[in-house]
Each structure stands twice: as C-alpha cells, then as structure tokens.
C-alpha cells in the first residue's frame, strides 16, 4: 500500500452539471450619478447554484432593521441601542456607523392600526431625515396591515424617489397594485411576501409582473419562520424556490431572495430570550439564536438578510471574515 502516493498527483474535481437557469441580478440603491443619493449600491443575485456548492460563494448582504416607534423592541436589541431607540434616525445611525450594517431597513410600525395611527407627516419627516443622514441603500417596510401597507409605502416611495429602495412588501392580500405603481413611478424595487408556499410565491410574482414590474425589480421574502419557530420551513421553501429558478423552467421565481421578517422574528422565540438558569446565559443564547437563524437562511440560498440584534450581525460578519482564514 506504500505506492498510494503515486495516485495523489491527480486532483479530484467534483463533476459539474451546470443548471440551465440562474438567479436574476438585482441592483439595490442608486448613486448620485444614477438619480439617487446613496454612497454605495449592491448587486444581489446572479448565482447559478447554492452557497458553497461551487468555488465562488458571496456572503449575504446583511441589513439591520429599525422601527419608527419603539414598540415591542426586544430586550436584547434595547441593550445595544439604549436611548437611541426613541429616535429612529439616531438608531439608524448606530446601525450603519457603529454596527456596520450594509443596508438599513426602516419599518413604519407606528402606522399599524393596532397601535393607533401616527400621522403621515411624522413618517415623512422620519424618512427625510434618514435619507439625509444615512448613505446606504434602504428597505422601506410597511407596518404589515392589509389596509395600511399600500398607503404608507406610496408615501415613503414618493419621498425616496429615485433611490432604488426595496418596498416591503407586496402580498396577495394587500393592495399590491398600488405598491407596484408607486415603485414604478418612483424607481424602486418591490419585495414579494408570501408564507412558505412556492405556488403562492409564483402567483404573486406573476401578478406583480402583470402590473408592470420586470423580474429584476422584484425580490422574494418567502418566509417568516425562525429558529425554534419552524426554521425547517424556511430552509425548505428557499431551497425549493432556488431549485425551481435554477432549473430554468420557472422564470417568475428567478428573483433573488430577501429574508426581511424571519431573522428579527427569531428574537420572539421563547428560548432566545428567556432568563432561565437551566438554559445558560440568555445573552449568548439570544445572539446565537439570531445568527444561526440568519446563517440557516443564507445556507439555504437567501441573498439579503434583515436582522435586528446588532450583536448577531457583528457575530455573523466576523464569522464570514474568519471562515476564509485558518
């Protein structure tokens, strides 16, 4: 058996059968020269396979989310942002300057009917200041109410005209037509939100395209399930959508995936926050909970991941830096 070394000159290459399709490239954010005011933009998508299946794997774009009003902010997040929680602009600045998020998501939670409606003027003011003080691309998140979503996104879209923000989100039950119209008129992208169902996702994407969007103006947010709350559904829906897109026969599913809801949701899982001596340090657990959720979404194929706990984002970024090294 001493002669085994002589075989070693050959390098083993994994056989490759390239998929016929690929994920569409979508550009987020617009520079000054492109009609916006962002200092940086990102192109997501373009991949032909799953992460780590081929030699090149791009890490995901990691965003942090702020709320325009501090409603139900998880304790873990509060510990990091402290007083800034009361001022969405200060909170946003921390996310970008201190915690190095690549994209900022702002959720207009105050417009949700169950929290009493904040005046549109306040929302406008907040967004104007954020556009002025923050230079990364933005995801504008509606409150998640069928009656309010379109109205709020329409307002926000107008103020951020030309910035190529992601309007989040069009759903099968809200006024998606109005959202698409606002995106087209003001040069934005649209997130198409469904819950773990490839058929519904396809149907929604097709409807958005019928309203005039092209596939490179859409990102998909197909799940809200986090670790401990059905992460397996998230993994499987993303893998199914990716496979359908890569096999090339579902053009309407070739949009990149932006997980906007799942990672922040991880902080609501009981085990992520509970102070129970039997479960060890809640701080370590909480950070890990969100970074493992986000990492799972990425491994399955998500291109953009919105997170909530700055420490989890930092952990994940460090992990992607170290993963390349010994």
């Amino acid at each position: 058996m001493e002669d085994l070394h002589k075989f070693l000159k050959v390098k083993f290459e994994v056989p490759e059968i390239p998929y016929p399709g690929s994920i569409v490239k979508v550009k987020i954010g617009a520079l000054k020269s492109e009609g916006g005011t962002r200092r940086k933009t990102f192109i997501v998508g373009g991949e032909k396979t799953f992460p780590f299946f081929s030699k090149e794997t791009n890490p995901p774009i990691l965003a942090l989310q702020v709320l325009d009003k501090p409603l139900n902010v998880p304790k873990q997040v509060l510990m990091e942002i402290k007083e800034a929680v009361n001022d969405p602009v200060e909170w946003a600045k921390l996310c970008i300057e201190k915690f190095q998020a690549e994209v900022l998501a702002i959720k207009f939670i105050s417009a949700h009917p169950s929290y009493g409606v904040k005046s549109k003027i306040e929302i406008k003011e907040t967004l104007k200041k954020i556009l002025n003080d923050i230079e990364v691309p933005l995801i504008l998140c509606a409150p998640g109410s069928d009656e309010k979503d379109a109205e709020i996104l329409e307002e926000a879209a107008k103020i951020a005209k030309g910035e190529k923000c992601i309007l989040a989100s069009a759903t099968l039950t809200n006024n998606y037509k109005k959202i698409v119209e606002a995106a087209l008129k003001n040069e934005h992208l649209v997130a198409a939100e469904t819950d773990c169902d490839p058929a519904l996702q396809k149907s929604l994407n097709e409807r958005l395209m019928n309203e005039g969007l092209s596939i490179d103006q859409i990102v998909m947010d197909p799940t809200s399930a986090a670790l401990g709350l059905g992460i397996e559904y998230s993994i499987s829906i993303i893998e199914q959508l990716k496979l359908n897109a890569l096999k090339g026969d579902e053009k309407a599913l070739q949009a990149p995936i932006a997980c906007i809801r799942a990672s922040p949701y991880s902080l609501t899982c009981r085990e992520a926050w509970i102070e129970d001596l039997g479960l060890g340090s809640p701080e370590i657990r909480g950070i890990l909970w969100e970074s493992i959720t986000a990492l799972s979404l990425f491994i399955a194929g998500a291109n953009i991941i919105v997170m909530m706990n700055p420490k989890a984002l930092i952990q994940l970024k460090t992990f992607f830096d170290l993963g390349e090294k010994n």
Binding site: S114, L227, L243, I274, L279, G280
Partner: protein, 446 residues
Amino acid sequence: MSKPSPIMVYNLLPKKNCGECKVPTCMAFALKLIEGEAEFEECPYLTEEQKIKLSALISPPIKAVSFGKRKLIVGGERVLYRHELRFFHPTIFSININDSLSEEKIKEKALYIKNFKIERAGEKFLIDSITVTSESGDCEKFRKAVRIIKETSDLPLILYSLNPKVIQAGVDEIADEKPILCSAKIDTLKSFIEISKRYSCPLTLESSDLNELKIMAEKANGLEVLLNPGAPSIKPFNLLSNVIAIRRCGIEFKIKEFSHPILAALNFIAKEAWMEALLASMLIIRYASILILNLMSIENLLPLFILRESVYSNPRVPATVSPGLYEIGKPNENSPVILTTNYALTYYLVTGDLENAGINCYVLIFDSQGMSVLNALAGGLLSSEAIKKLIQESKIEEKVSHRKLVIPGGIAKLKWEIEEATGWEVIVGPEESSGLPSFLKREGLC
C-alpha cells in the same frame, strides 16, 4: 432524486400479503421501502437473490454505519434537500474529552455529558456520544482515559488519534463496544484497516484533499467507513465546501468512494465557542452525520439541538405538541383560558407571545393532528363537541373559578355552538397570536 417504481419493487416481494412485516399488503410494503420508511429485512420470506436485487434497487445512496453498544445509526441518507423526501439519521453530537486532562477532570466531564439534558415541549435533548482524543500521544494515558469514560457513561465512543498504536491501545479497552476509529491518514491507512478489521469497528478516513480521500476509500472497500474531509488546519469554509462536494458526489453522481457518512471534527477547527456553534449549524443543514465538538454549555448547544430537530423532521408530517392543558407563567383561578391547536408552530407562537408579554394564563391545546386553526376547522376536527371533551379531560373547571374561553379569531363562527355545548362564555380573540396580549388586557381578562 430518482426513485424506483413501486411495481419494480413489488415484483421482488413474495406477493403473499401476509402482513407479517406489519404492513397489510406487499404493495404497501413496496411503497414504504421506496420512501425509506421500512427495511426489507422486515419481510421474512425473501430469498437471498431477492434481497440482493432489492438492495441494489432501494438501498440509500449514502451507506448507513452503526456504532456503540446501542448501535447508533448514522448516514443512510437519500436526498440533498429535505423537501425531496426527508433526512433520516440526525447529526450526532459527540463531545470531545482530551486524554491529557487529569483523571478527575475526565470523569467529571464524562459525567456532565452523561447527565446533560434539556427539555422543550415534552422533547428531551441529550448528548449522543463522547470522543476521546489523544493529546498526549501516550498509549497508556489514552487507554486509561478510555477506561474512565467507559466506566462513567455508556454513550457510544469515538476514539481520536492519528497514531494507530494509540488507537489500538484504546480500542483494546472497549473491544466489544464498536467505537468509531478516528482517523486514518494515507500513511497510516494500512495499520488502521487491520485494526478496524480485527475489532469490527467503523473507520474514519481523514484528508482535506478529496482525491486522497477517494483513494483511501477505495482501499478501505468492504469496511464500515466515515469520511472526515478536514485536517485540523483547514479553513472553515473549505471544510464546508468539501462536505458538500462529498455528499453531492455520493448522491448526485453516485461515486462509490464518497457514499459514506461524513464526520467533522470542529473541536480542532473552531477557535471559539460561538464560531463552533455557527459552523456546526451550517453542517447540520449541510450533510454532516457526526460533529465532534468542544462545546459543552447549554446556551451554545440548545440552538443546535433545535436546529437539528427541525432539519431532520419529516416534511410530510406536521410538527405537533401533546394536546392538553399548559400553564404560562403562574396562573391562578382568575387567569384567562386560551384555546389553540397542537400544530407545533401555533403552539410556539401563541405561548411565546404570551410569555414574552409576561401574562399568566392557561392554554388549552386542542388535538388538531398538527393542523393550523383554519385547516382544523375546515377539516372538521375543531368542533364544539371536541372542545367540550377537552374541557372535561383537562379538568380546567377545577383550576379556574370563571367560565370564559378565548378562542382564535379564525374560528369565530363556532362561538355560539361552543357556548351551547360547554356552558362556557366564548370570547373571540384576535386572528394573530401577536395581538393576544394586548387583547387580553383590553378585555380586562388579565
């Protein structure tokens, strides 16, 4: 994924429909075999020839390997993506103990691992295995460490050393317990194969070079083999790429040498606990059958246990919790009573939202067979009679002095029916569980 047709499998069965395999007909048994839900050994009437043919037809592309006294099975996988069928044998967490520790410390660690237990909604999470690593390189020290661990716990063991003499000393201590031998490199392969044959133990082959691994697997043909595609100095993401490449070669390209379960020794690769946990989570989703970990603390292991349980759950069977009465916080006789289904996601959402808001209450979990509220209603499972029975069996009437039941908004139309059947006042709650805490407060129920 290519599956054989049921008729091809059926034709190799005795067609007696005797039911001795506990499946009523041979056709139904054939379907189960194809789905990997039954083993052909369960049929007592197969000839050797039929067995060989069946095995070629339905054996999983990734071989199964068993180890330890209790014959823990790893591998036996059939698909790259869980939605295509399911993943079968959950990733084993094997916690590492170095032989250079003092005897007391070794015993203490082994005891901690043995007694480790976390419970979640009736589910128990236990550590599956212990790895003994020779740090000293000393045969006697290794032998002693193995002995102490064997005397402390009966968990299946993995013996780790690159020196075959050390492994020989260790395996000699537990000759009849089928530990996994870890790891042969190309220069020590011959001696390792001899030991593996002598003691009938599974052998791990180690190299970060896939070509080298393939040559070694060819030589180890006929043994129970595991592949460890990362030497201690490998970059974490290269390890991940190797693991994925091996599994794709095994399943997509049917390359025989790569059709073995994969072992990854993260204890050597990750420098810090959080990093080990993140790397482990990627490898749970992507194909590792065994992870050797340094991690011991609950806050690091709990998310990994939950991720593993999720990834290895059967996508065709909805996750459920046991029906019955659950307490949130410290409820008393005035606390509200909330009804929902036993679909695990519903349960975690509802109880999580209530707990998060610090509400003390009772939750009555209805047996919807894992369906969500709306599906259970549509499927006729959620009826006033069934709720009456649940109220009686749970003895909730002995725990609270009021008779007010909060039901999910989605089943509002059952309000009158339930009131008539149970005599309870029914309060229609919100459709989303996130609205529940504020609803209870608004209604003055807590």
